[in-house]
């Protein structure tokens, strides 16, 4: 289910970011869903590839990005309208965090960019 071991690599580059517990748990659950989705659907032909996870501070926000170089998203992909449980969880948790989820179409691949507002940053 999660791809052939050794063929998909995950890299993580993160600044030290601090969030309250009630926010960091939903962020972690979203990260888990996005990374799992990238494993499950990013490289379906078994050819393998890279998944990149970054976490950075922006003015007034923390930005988590999960990207891959694999399959493109369907042209009409809309996270809030997705019937998949994972995307429903992501949109529910993002709403709770007052976060925005942007989708960037790469060539090849895609990036999911979660921007979590935080007034102390």
């Amino acid at each position: 289910m999660l791809g052939d071991e050794g063929k998909v690599s995950v890299s993580c580059h993160a600044q030290a970011c601090y969030l309250p517990t009630q926010e960091v748990i939903p962020v972690a659950l979203i990260a888990n869903e996005l990374i799992t989705n990238a494993f499950k659907y990013g490289y379906p032909d078994g050819g393998g590839g890279a998944i990149r996870v970054t976490c950075e501070k922006e003015e007034g926000a923390i930005v988590l990005t999960v990207s891959d170089d694999g399959t493109a998203l369907p042209a009409d992909f809309e996270p809030a309208a997705s019937n998949g449980l994972g995307m429903k969880m992501i949109t529910s948790l993002a709403k709770q965090l007052r976060a925005t989820l942007d989708i960037v179409r790469l060539d090849p691949g895609k990036a999911f960019r979660l921007r979590v507002p935080n007034s102390e940053i």
Binding site: M89, S92, L93, A94, K95, Q96
Partner: protein, 157 residues
Amino acid sequence: MQVEAWRSPRFVFGPASSDRAEDNPGEGRRHASPDAGLTLLIAEDEGLVAMNMENALVEAGFRVLGIVDTEADVIEAALRLKPDVIVMDITLREGNGITAARRIQDSLRVRIVFVSGNSDPSTLAAAREIRSSGFIRKPFLTDGFADLVRDAVRRGE
């Protein structure tokens, strides 16, 4: 997704009933019900719990008009959307469900079902003072949730 894993006593007030759906877990869950089509607003500040409630209620035939998570938003949404039922968490992101219920009932006739993990005596007493249809304790079992709401709505009629 099963968020909660066990059942606990949920209704702490309201008349006892021998034919409560919770006595027959899953009974009637996928069948047409006289309550099908009732409109409903969810006030819940935990995103996954709200999602779980929505899935269970939609599957049971309720029409969920929206999910809100603050006292101000539930008051605004209730007055604007005029739902038949509000499923109301007591601890909200800002404010609380009991104050919201009082404000809403000042100007709207709506059935309110409280859902809360906070079942200390003072909370229950405050909830009891309000014309509510029932009190569902968290944690609840997803499979039985819509039946509990339906049961509370019937009691409140």
